[in-house]
Structure formats: C-alpha cells, structure tokens
C-alpha cells in the first residue's frame, strides 16, 4: 500500500521546489522525491495546480476527552484537525480527569490510535490535577509519551513551584508550556480591559495579567538556564518582552493563535460568545504586534487553542459562557488571508510557523518537512481558493467559531498522515 | 392630474366662525358652564377663534382646553407613520360642564370617537357638543355635528384641505383636491 503524489509543487520552510516533482510514499514514510516517478498499482494523487506542504502541527488543542465528550472527542477532534490540514496535534491536559498520570496519557494515545486519523500527543499537566500545588511525575509522563507539560487554562501561579517545575521538566526533557495569566490580575475578567470593555460594561482582563507572568518566567528561565514556552501570546507588550529575552539569549519560545492575529476586542461588541476567549481578544496595536512578532521570529509558531464548547454552554450570557473557540479548520486560511495575504509572511514562512517550527520545538525530528525518509505527513492545499466559513462545514463536534460567515482564502484539499489519506475535499 | 377647487375663502371662514359662536350661545342660552376643547391641531385654532368671537359678543371668557387624541386612536395598528404625541392641556374639571368639542373637518367620525373617549377620562360633562368648520360626509360611526360651518359633499377619493393662518401660515381657506 503506497501513494504517489504527482506534479507536486513542494513548499517547505526552507523553500519552494523550483519545478514540480513526484513524491512516493511507502510504509508511512516519504520514500522518494524525483521529477518523475512511476509506481504501478499505487494510488495516484494529482497535485497539479496545488501546493504540497508538510502536514501542520498544532501545539495547542483541546480534545475534551476524557470528560467532556459532549464538546469534542478524540475522534471528532482528529477529524477536525485532518480537515484543517493538521497531521499532529498536542492535546491539552485540562480534561476530566486531567492528563496528569501515565495512565491518562496511555488512554489518550490508545483512543487516538483507535481513531487512526492524525498523530495525537498528549500534553501532561505540570501540577497534579492542575491544582498548582504539587508537580506531576514528569519522568513517567515522558516515558508514557508526553513531549510537553502545561496547566493550560491556568498559569502556575506560585513562582517557587514554577521554578521547581522548570528544573524538573528540564531533567525530563519536557517542554514547559505556560498559560500566561495572573489570576489575581485577570480577576474573572471576560474580555480585554480597555475602552471597549468600559463601553460594554464587561469585566476587563488587563494585558498586565499576561505580561507579569511572562516577565516572571523570563527571569526564571534566565536564572535556571531552562526553556519555557509561552502559549497564546496576545499583547504587544508580551511580544516586546519575549523579543528582548530572545536577544539576551534566554531560551524562550512563543506561539500565537490565528484569532489573536485576526480579531480585536471590537468583535465583542456583538456579544457573540464565540468571541469570548482566554486570553481575550486585544486591541489593534496588539494584533499588529503579533503579526510583527511572527514576521521577525519573536513568535515561533502558530497554534490554534482549538477550544470546542457546546451550543448550550455558549448560548449563555457573556459573563457565564466558557471561553474558547474552535480553530483547527480555519487556521491555515486565516494564515493565508491575514499573514500571507497582507505580506506579513510568505507561504514558506507560514509553513515554518505551522509545521517546521512546532516540530522543532517539540523534538519531532521526522516531521515538519517534506524530505526523503521523513514521515509521510503531507497536506495539499489550494492557497488561492476563496471559501466561506459555514456552521454546516465545521467537522468539529462544536461550532463555536467567530469566523462563521467570513470569506477566507486558502483551502485544504487533501491531508495525508502516516502515508494514509485522512481527509479529502469532496 | 389632480384638480383643486376652493370651497371657502377667508371671509367665508370668518363668517362661519362668527355664526357658530352665535349658535353656541343660542343653543346653550348663554355661556354658563360652557367650555371649549380644541382637537389638535386646527381644532385648537378654531376653538381659540370661537373663544374670541364669544368674548366679543358676550364679553365673557370661556374655559378652554387642548386635546391630543392620538392615544385614543383606533388605527395605531394600521397607519404607517406613527403620530407624534403632543401634550393635552385641560387644566379645569370638565365634570358637569357643557363641553363644545372643536375640530376642522368631520369625516369618518373616528377622530371624534377618540376625542369622546378621551374627554370621558377627564370627567363627566353634562353634555358634549361638536363644532366643525367642514362636514364632508362619509361617516363610519353614528356621530353628527351640532354646529357646522359648511356641508361639503365629497367623494372618498378627494381630499379636503383646511388652512388657517395660525397653524398653516397661509391664508384662511378650504380647498378640495382630487
């Protein structure tokens, strides 16, 4: 069983192939790349007119299983990922129970294997039960298959505990992924604190709730000489702090979400609860700074923070509705529309942010690039195709997208994971 | 093409008002307990003129009020343009008074029906009489005027336009259009 992709215009982070090539896939690997390959009896995909990219890798996805299978399951989340062109997704540990032991890690891996669509990498919790009190058995988590740890949804508020976590995770070889939010400062805020929150009378979550954690963790990483990864960076000041830390040689990395480089807090004026997200949508200058940070490399990668919620949960009032939006299926198109379309990144730059960089950050050496011998995780896209986001088209179990009704550019045509076609546009 | 013909000129309007003033006095045997209530907008102007005419004839000042009948209309659900509400000013008790309601044109009778409902909410007059400048017919309710300036036969498709200097900044007159 193999696959042959004909007329592939390959785009890697390193560059674009000068002339179309053929790619032969066998046993889940890219066996051969050559100007013309003939392989009788093998299924052929003609990629003429399209671009062929390394499968996207999302460091930040909420699959909700175990515990909230009404919102999403590993099966539906995997299908949503495949439709969005993702071949590897990192599952956040804020499930019920939390992914804080090797057993839960194993459960997620088993479920993902049963589903058999995309690679699922469970992210372990930093602290037991994500309670912020005791660090988890990180060596065991690592052995069970974790590549990173996070208490996502909450920051590790105790700086002393964070120090221990960074030290211990460094020994275990795990990437510490921080949700940057000082909960005393965010103080149950439901949107960005600023003119718009004042006008709307909604409780504000100020930018400083994010920046004080980033500043603190930069100091910890500097002192301890460990790595730390900042998730869903949302503000201009955060980008500036990370830029300076990188210039000083501190081992910090960062991700940004498509919604934070696309939307401002103006979107909340609709009171559409799918615009309620944590960290909240910020202001125009912040959106610009995220784009600048992606352009100059301050922000290493794009992650979706795909956070499905049921209609029942999201139909609540703005104060009560849970934060989060579904992002797997719109990420590439938003990258094309907002970043490539506006000259922020080239297509190769976007491939770096969505494939190569996240693979590199998490040590997935066989992913993130189309090259002979690498895993056959490939996505075929039409970068020019315009399409309308509709509720009906969303494969995720939840439909909480603020982009419904929006016209976007860039469509995933076919997703191949481990040499197997896992999504194909009808 | 619409046609337009003048039915009353300024002099005729003036004479009609004077005549109605006399009729009111005659019918009520003087002015005791008589008061005037004008229906916005032109009824108010006519009521003021009647009041002045009676002052001239009798040397007495009648009580007088202004009524906005829009709250009482039965067509709020039907008409397209919502009427702008103005104040009703009746600062005396109408109970046991002889109220003379004044309006410019009597047509279907619905405005008067609304005015009667409104008046009843203000008290229990001993009688209510109706004075109009023009009665153009086509009643839809069992209502008639006690004092009429001029009866004008019209068809339903025609429009009767009354202009009064105080409200229309235009010479007094009544015109039929259509």
């Amino acid at each position: 069983m193999g696959l042959l992709i004909k007329n592939a215009c390959v785009v890697n982070a390193a560059g674009e192939s000068r002339a179309p090539v053929d790619i032969l896939v066998e046993d889940g690997k890219i066996k051969k790349i050559a100007p013309s390959i003939s392989a009788p009896g093998v299924e052929v995909i003609d990629a003429v007119g399209f671009k062929v990219l390394p499968g996207f890798i999302d460091l930040h996805v909420h699959l909700r299983e175990p515990g909230r299978e009404d919102k999403e399951t590993i099966a539906t989340g995997s299908a949503s990922a495949a439709k969005g062109g993702f071949t590897a997704i990192f599952a956040m540990p804020n499930t019920i129970p939390a992914i804080d032991t090797a057993q839960v890690v194993q459960f997620v891996l088993d479920q993902a294997k049963k589903v058999g669509l995309v690679n699922v990498y469970p992210v372990g919790a930093i602290t037991k039960g994500r309670a912020g009190e005791q660090i988890t058995e990180m060596m065991d988590l690592k052995r069970a298959g974790c590549l990173g740890v996070s208490d996502d949804g909450r920051a590790v508020m105790n700086a002393g505990l964070m120090r221990r976590a960074l030290e211990y995770a460094s020994m275990a070889g795990l990437l510490v992924m921080q949700h940057c939010e000082d909960e005393h400062l965010s103080a149950k805020g439901v949107m960005n604190e600023g003119e718009v929150s004042t006008r709307l009378g909604l409780r504000g979550d100020p930018i400083i709730a994010e920046t004080v954690i980033i500043a603190r963790d930069i100091e910890l990483a500097r002192y301890l000489k460990t790595r730390v990864h900042f998730m869903h960076v949302s503000s201009a000041r955060s980008v500036e702090l990370i830029r300076r830390a990188k210039a000083e040689g501190i081992q910090v990395t960062a991700e940004a979400t498509p919604h934070h480089f696309t939307l401002t807090d103006d979107a909340v004026k609709s009171f559409d609860t799918s615009t309620k997200v944590n960290p909240p949508l910020r202001m125009a200058a912040d959106v610009q700074a995220i784009k600048d940070g992606l352009k100059d490399g301050t922000i290493d990668c794009i992650a979706t923070d795909h956070a499905p919620h049921t209609l029942e949960d999201k139909e609540a009032d703005f104060d009560c509705a849970p934060p989060g939006l579904v992002g797997l299926e719109t990420a590439f198109a938003l990258g094309m529309t907002e970043l490539v379309g506006n000259g922020i990144l080239t297509l190769t730059g976007l491939v770096d942010k969505m494939s190569a960089a996240p693979a590199h950050l998490t040590g997935l050496v066989n992913k993130g690039e189309i090259a002979e011998g690498r895993d056959a995780d490939i996505v075929i896209v039409d970068p020019e195709r315009k399409w309308m986001v509709t509720k009906e088209d969303i494969a995720s179990k939840s439909k909480n997208s603020p982009f419904i009704g929006r016209q976007l550019r860039g469509r995933v045509i076919t997703t191949i994971c481990g040499g197997k076609k896992v999504y194909s546009e009808k | 093409m619409s046609t337009s013909s003048k039915i009353m000129d300024a002099d005729q309007v003036r004479r009609a008002v004077t005549r109605i003033a006399h009729e009111i006095l005659e019918r009520n045997k003087g002015v005791d307990e008589v008061c005037l209530v004008g229906i916005r907008t032109r009824g108010v102007v006519l009521a003021e003129r009647l009041r002045a005419a009676i002052r001239q004839i009798e040397g007495k000042e009648l009580l007088y009020g202004i009524l906005d009948i829009n709250f009482y209309r039965d067509d709020l659900n039907i008409i397209k343009k919502q009427p702008v509400i103005h104040e009703t000013l009746i600062d005396f008790d109408i109970t046991d008074k002889k109220v003379v309601l004044v309006d410019d044109v009597l047509y279907t009778g619905r405005t008067i029906r609304a005015a009667l409902d409104a008046l009843v909410d203000f008290g229990r007059p001993s009688s209510i009489q109706l004075a109009v400048l023009v009665d153009r017919g086509h009643r839809e309710l069992p209502i008639r005027a006690d004092f009429v300036g001029k009866n004008i036969p019209t068809s339903k498709t025609q429009q009767v336009k009354v202009s009064l200097q105080e409200s229309d900044s235009h010479e007094d007159g009544v015109v039929i259009e259509g």
Binding site: G201, E315, D317, F318, C320 | L76, Q82, E87, D121, F122
Partner: protein
C-alpha cells in the same frame, strides 16, 4: 419632527440627538396623563408587555408596570433570583417561551451585560433594556435627562457631575452617552479604583478630586455605593469613602447655588449622599421617580404604538 425607527431600546449609544428629543417630548405628554384623575389611555390596548427580571429590582419593575398599565397594555411579570432564570443559559429559552405566548414586548433586567442584545437577536419581540450588567440602563438615563431638561430647560453648557462607583454603574454609562449626545458636559468622580479605564473615550471627564468635580456643577448625581466593594479591595472602608466622596451640604455648596441633586435610587443615606442633601430643597430624587413612569410610557408607546411589521 422625525419619526421613531427603532424596534428595541438597548442602550443610549444607538439613539441620535433627535431621537432622544422625541422621547423627551413624547414623555411630556405622558406626564400629563399620570396627573389625571383617570390615569390611563388606551394607546396600547390589546398589547402584552412582559417584565423579565432576572435581577431583583422593585423600583424599575414597578415603574415599567405602571407605565404599561397606564397605556392599557396587559402585563405579566417573570421575576426570579432563584429559579432557572438566574442561570444565564436558559434566559433565551425563557424569552422564546414568552414569545410563544404572543407577547409583544419584553422589558428585561439581567445581571450580565449584553443579555438584552442577545434577546433582540434571538427573538422576534421588541426588547427594552431595563438594566444589563454594568452596561446600560437607557430608561434611567432618559428619565434623568427628562428631569434635567424640565428643570433647566436645556442641555447645552450644563455641567453634570456623577459621583461614586463609576466602574460598576450602568446608569453612569447610559447617562454619559445620552448627555454627551445632547451637548451637556459630564464629569465623573470617584475613587481611582472605581473609575474605569478609557471612560474619557465615552466623552466624560474623569477626576478623583471631589472639589474640582463639584465646582460650578449644574447637576450633582450620586450613585449607590455597594458595601461589597470593600471586600473586593476597591475601597479600604466605607468610612473612608464617606470621608472623601460623600455628597455633603458643605461639598454641595461648591456647585451652582440652584444645582439639582439627583440619584437613581435606592440611596444609601450617609454613604454616597448625606440625608440633608437627599431630602434638601435642591433634591429632585422623587421627581425622578415620577418622571420615570412618563419616560417609560413614552418608550413603550414609541416602540409599540404603531403598525407591527
């Protein structure tokens, strides 16, 4: 005069100067109705108005109820602080149930900002916001403006000073929007922790200096100070608030001699306003209550007294 084109009344920001003028003018006529022996006109006969109150409020509810009844509309009240209504997730469902009973207009009060807008989008009924979260309380602003206009005759060149917990006040927000639209100058004053970021963008001047705020004011409005703000560290103590910000007779002397004293009620006497001031000759607090009915009648009439689409 121009007509009314809104189906809902959700906030003051969506009303133009002319539209606010129309509401105030219409309210004048309705104020007369409430002074009659028979305080009722048939303008909304056959219409049904539901009062959906998810947050306790006697004054506003009673005011709306009387307004609707004086227009001959039928009313029904769904008031709840303990049933399903307190759960945000069922408010739309509750509204749809009300709609299924052919109710024409819903007056809604909710502790979360944006709920009236959500109902306006999710149902076919006309929606009147009777206060949502910290966002808006348009009929309160309109009755405040009616009272100011009745007493002072104009909005231009008048200084309105609002003192207290601006951060949590929907009344302050709606008053600012309405008054600024009409050309008045609005100053808000309170402890720095209770003045929201970016309030200047709504057109108000903000200061923590009570003397400066009250100086030459034409209108001085106090806002209710909730004792819970102390627990949330917005205030060190109520005592300190009283010392620094209470509208006392001495402080009131800084304002113009005939400055109006207003309060949306209920007042915390001796906290945000001294009893002598609340009951003093400059106080129009009870007239605000009277005017509230007229303004709400005007709003209900403008929204319902016409052909429904």
């Amino acid at each position: 005069m121009m007509g009314w084109k809104h189906k809902h009344l959700l906030d003051m920001g969506s009303l133009t100067k002319d539209e606010i003028g129309l509401v105030l003018e219409t309210a004048k006529s309705f104020k007369e109705v409430s002074s009659r022996e028979v305080k009722k006109v048939p303008a909304l006969r056959g219409k049904t108005v539901a009062l959906l109150f998810a947050e306790p409020s006697t004054r506003t509810r009673v005011s709306f109820e009387l307004a609707a009844k004086r227009l001959s509309a039928d009313t029904l009240t769904i008031q709840s602080t303990n049933s399903s209504l307190t759960k945000g997730e069922t408010i739309l469902d509750t509204a749809l149930n009300i709609q299924a009973m052919n109710v024409d207009l819903v007056v809604v009060r909710h502790q979360a900002s944006g709920v009236p807008q959500m109902l306006a989008q999710g149902t076919k009924m006309a929606i009147v916001n009777a206060g949502d979260g910290c966002r808006a309380h348009p009929t309160q602003a309109l009755l405040d403006m009616f009272t100011i206009h009745e007493k002072l005759g104009s909005f231009s060149n008048i200084k309105v000073t609002i003192v207290g917990d601006i951060l949590h006040s929907r009344v302050a927000r709606s008053d600012i929007q309405g008054l600024v639209t009409m050309g008045a100058h609005v100053t808000v004053c309170g402890p720095s922790t209770l003045i929201p970021i970016g309030i200047e963008a709504m057109g108000a001047e903000a200061t923590c200096d009570i003397n400066k705020a009250l100086k030459d004011a034409d209108v001085v409005m106090g806002l209710r100070m909730q004792k819970e703000r102390q627990q949330e560290s917005f205030l060190p103590s109520v005592t300190e608030y009283v010392r620094e910000f209470c509208i006392t007779p001495e402080r009131l002397r800084l304002a113009k001699p005939k400055a109006l004293v207003m309060h949306p009620g209920p007042t915390n006497r001796g906290v945000e306003i001294a009893a002598e001031v609340a009951d003093g000759p400059q106080s129009v607090i009870l007239e605000q209550v009277t005017n509230g009915i007229a303004v709400r009648m005007a709003v209900l009439y403008l929204l319902l007294g016409r052909k429904s689409k």
